[in-house]
Symmetry: C2
């Protein structure tokens, strides 16, 4: 096969040719001999035949006596037959049948005489009440064909058949080489510019789940010679090698060159997103896979391009994620030139399975952790409209989705605590929160995409919270507003308030850098209102357009020193040990559609809101006031 350098090979073609090339080069597992008791989950290298029969002897199936059936012929209720002690042997269930005996008579059917003889009122049929040799397994019979996964009951059958050891396929050894000058091993105290190397830990866990044996090599700096000798060392010890690039652009050129010089490159550049810069390399029958540095790209490349190699090597198809049909909550736009993998959160709302696209940043590993499924947008398609019914590959059991409380709306750390309390109470229940701001929550309830929405929306006209918005957006009713908490909003500033921020008015002072919340969030609406009320020109606030999506991320920017002030709740300021200038107390409530109200998940949520455990958690977080959480404030 000619080596080709192409930049946009369709994924399916690349996958197929990569497996074919390596298989043609001789890729495949050798076998190893293994004790049967340790072989569960392994794959047989060749057919296994029974050495002995099971049972391996004729055994009594009853407690009673063993006899020669012909001695009993003619016995009836009226003409009993007597057997002398020499003509029978007493035995228990499981005992071997003595030579010259070929039937067992149950103890209940015997009358013992005083001289030790027995009387029988029924003739015995030859082989009655005997578990014959080979009833379960016959010697010489095939117990397992080649390339078969060994199950617990197969272990029993093999041992019963006298097989103590079997040949199983060797598990592929996969070397992982992390590269990059800034890359450091995991630490809880990295210096700025250090990039924590966690890809190898993710890949190792994936590989173990697929029955492969990962070996992670030390981090190699971005130097051609060092990378090349690391690859060479790994190739001598492993069946496949993953070369994980640094995340810097330009650096992956080293990977391609190293791989080319180590053997060959089938393709560099696959029509997939994320994961386009993947390099399909090899040395003879050994794969050398160049994997991009961003974790999400890496996970997708390993899943799409390494997993098929493991399956081919191990001659064992790995379980497929099952797929479901779901309705998209938002449009997804994709490019025509590549196949795109979009992570989605899912939940059953009002009987329909809703899929909401998550962040598509390839550096955002948490979005993979939160994903319930993967939506594949084929090459040549521009994407899907909101409301489209699409097929999604499940990353969690569908049963879990049916027991997941969906929360879309305003962010508050208390939602995570509710999620924890819910799952602790009943581990079959889950909660999935998406932070879209209060208005996003209201829209999600209208579109029947969520069970609950956290909202805190100030009515500028009368200073009330939430009710007037619900009335406006739900003129037909059908929803309930459930009291949750009062919480203190204010201006967060660096610890000790070095820039002496006293309130809204300080934000236009020279040198003050503000960080804002996204439009549509309750906190942004509050901020816009406060600026208007105080006649503050928001264009004079430096950073007013810099938008974050949660209270904690605003606090994190201030704690990092990249902003001087931001509006947020007290609990976020406390979490980051920031100064806090209180501005107002607002009402944070939950909007719940009537259709969700009577569901076990929502009813459990209400119980949690009313619980002491919830009150205790809020006290720890700080800045909350509780009146009667869980009570319906109004039904519309």
């Amino acid at each position: 096969m000619a080596f080709q350098y192409l930049t946009n090979i369709p994924l399916e073609q690349a996958k197929k040719e990569y497996v074919q090339l390596l298989t043609a080069n001789g890729m495949g597992a050798g076998s190893e001999r293994m004790n049967v008791t340790q072989a569960c989950g392994r794959t047989t290298a060749r057919a296994v035949y029974a050495h002995i029969c099971a049972p391996h002897y004729h055994a009594s199936a009853m407690d009673g006596i063993a006899v020669q059936a012909s001695d009993t012929f003619g016995a009836t209720q009226t003409t009993p037959v007597a057997l002398t002690p020499e003509q029978y042997v007493t035995l228990d269930t499981g005992d071997p049948i003595p030579e010259n005996c070929d039937a067992v008579i149950m103890v209940e059917d015997i009358v013992k005489n005083e001289d030790g003889s027995v009387r029988l009122y029924d003739a015995a049929a030859p082989w009655q009440h005997i578990r014959q040799i080979g009833e379960d397994i016959c010697a010489g019979e095939m117990i397992l064909p080649a390339y078969t996964t060994v199950s617990p009951s197969a272990i029993g059958a093999l041992l019963a058949g006298g097989v103590m050891e079997i040949d199983v396929l060797r598990q592929p050894i996969v070397g992982i080489i992390p590269t990059g000058d800034e890359i450091i091993p995991p630490t809880s105290d990295p210096a700025p510019g250090d990039i924590i190397e966690f890809n190898s830990s993710i890949f190792s866990a994936m590989l173990r789940q697929w029955g492969a044996l990962p070996v992670t090599y030390p981090i190699v700096p971005d130097r051609f010679d060092q990378i090349k000798s690391a690859v060479s060392a790994a190739l001598s010890e492993c069946d496949m090698v993953i070369l994980n690039a640094g995340s810097s652009a330009g650096r992956e050129d080293y990977s391609a060159q190293v791989i080319r010089e180590s053997g060959g490159v089938l393709y560099h550049g696959i029509a997939m997103k994320p994961g386009k810069p993947a390099i399909l390399g090899y040395q003879g029958a050994k794969a050398i896979l160049g994997v991009p540095g961003y974790p999400v790209s890496g996970i997708i490349v390993i899943e799409q391009l390494l997993k098929p190699l493991i399956e081919a090597f191990s001659r064992h198809p790995l379980p497929q994620e099952s797929s479901v049909r779901a309705f998209l909550s938002r449009p997804v736009v994709s490019g025509l030139k590549y196949q795109e993998f979009v992570r989605v959160r899912m939940g059953y709302v009002d009987g329909r399975l809703i899929a909401s696209p998550l962040s598509r940043g390839s550096g955002v590993v948490s979005s993979f952790m939160k994903a319930d499924g993967i939506l594949t947008i084929p090459q040549g398609l521009e994407g899907y409209e909101a409301g489209s019914e699409v097929t999604v590959q499940l990353l969690r059991p569908q049963e879990e989705l049916k027991h997941t409380l969906v929360a879309i709306g305003s962010h508050d750390p208390l939602l995570d605590e509710v999620s924890d309390l819910l799952h602790r109470k009943d581990t079959s229940c889950f909660m999935a929160s998406t932070h879209t701001g209060s208005m996003g929550g209201i829209m999600a309830v209208r579109r029947k995409e969520t069970h609950i929405a956290g909202i805190h929306l100030l009515d500028e006209n009368d200073g009330t919270y939430n009710e007037s918005y619900v009335r406006k957006y739900f003129p037909q009713g059908g929803v309930r507003l459930v009291e949750c908490v009062g919480r203190t909003q204010g201006i967060m500033a660096a610890k000790g308030n070095p820039k002496n921020i006293t309130g809204i008015d300080s934000l236009t002072a020279p040198g003050i850098r503000y960080v804002n919340r996204q439009k549509g969030s309750g906190t942004r609406i509050l901020m816009d209102y406060l600026c208007k009320k105080n006649h503050l020109d928001t264009s004079a606030v430096y950073g007013y357009d810099r938008e974050e999506f949660t209270h904690t991320s605003v606090a994190a920017q201030i704690a990092s020193g990249s902003a001087d002030a931001g509006m947020g709740i007290y609990s976020a300021a406390k979490m980051y040990d920031l100064s806090f200038i209180p501005v107002c107390t607002e009402q944070y409530d939950l909007l719940i559609p009537d259709s969700a109200w009577d569901t076990p998940l929502v009813q459990e949520l209400i119980r949690i809101l009313k619980s002491d455990a919830f009150a205790g958690k809020l006290k720890e977080l700080g800045g909350y006031t509780l009146q009667s959480p869980g009570e319906i404030r109004c039904a519309f």
Copy 2:
């Protein structure tokens, strides 16, 4: 709760009360601290929060220069802005943003002057092309709630959040105590009366699949004191104890008494089959489960009664087997007084999923290995009629069932070899054979329950094979008869033929014990015909009613010395090194309905029949002649 001794408690009630009792007594896992990289698949003991933000510093998202955005304000295509070398810093993707900078300009958008200054034709927006702190994860945010399984991507998120160790729930330690005087450790050379102890290996493999840690103790003889002290020692080291009884009747009384004296017995005797003699015992929060000795009973009891305890202990529901609807090929009769678990083989034939009940003997561990699913017959139901649509819990992925070639009919060891060749060729294809004899195969084809049927049916009138039967049973046609092999039938006798058997006529001689095949099998039909032709009175043949279901099991009986002669094929005699007196050569063919003919599985089968590999295997087995295997002999 009062201790009760009841003999027939409904399974669901027993299960529920057992979990409740042990939970009330404090059953549950403690936690252990663990390196995050090793925690995949484990369950968090408490919620885990991020220690640091990810990214933990503001990082450039591009190769280019870092600037203060305000320095660039006003730059346009017509009025470029120049920055002195002091006003910018060159950086690569991933590099930290220097202090006093708050925007990155891509290298493509910069024009360099000779004096080291740069010209810009566009103003930079604050924070453009910067990956901000916490974009992925914010310090203090909950990464995982309590009681959550750690996934590969969660490992990445935890390490990115600076979490190096987490508390996970301890895995339950389950002690297994095998008991019984005749029980011996696995061996390939047992003496008569020895019972090979393989239950503990099956249970251990099941427990490991459920995330528990099995500990198998040495075999304990059937003595009350020794069993009691073994249980006591296991209780001091384990969270749960399985006391596996010897298979002899009467022996389990020791178990109940030992368990009662070690703590208490909730129930002894559950309304389930197999598994009725199970004992639900405990010592405080520790379960002591008395498990019957037969392997199939044991598997069902462990699955039904121990698995729920593991789930409660580990606060983690284990994956449920999914269930499917299938049509029963045969009636299943059950008792009203218990819930029964019946093992079934399954296959898709002609678009319908067919379930065929397997042997219900509780000693037959191979039937568990072969089972594709479990049919549960509820207490109070007498069973199901043939053709009923029933719900079956899957033991294999449904996808595998769709790629399984179903063979029902006459037994020949060559079928196992075909199965091996088929699966080796394409590991996503499987074959499931059931031995019902030739007539059973014809009936299965008529009822649309099989893809192929092996038949060898002699027409007494003209000495031909198979064709006249097919014509008779398929007057409407719709089937093809595919040539398979010629094979030599004969009388098998012990090695060296010590009883000097010369042919059919020898079978009525005194002292000759015959072993027969079941009615409806081609070999039985042949034997009946030969006896008639030779004017042999079959009632004068000792053991003519002793029926075995395969050639190998007939051979096994003769090899064991429990029979002197039996009719069978040469390959079975060769397997057991028996004497063989050839009687005739017969035609063994495959009957295939037209509806199955064009399926990929049947077409692959035909290719295999025509292959050299198949011919080679038959040569090894011996006694076969090949003309044109795989050719259609006639289509009806």
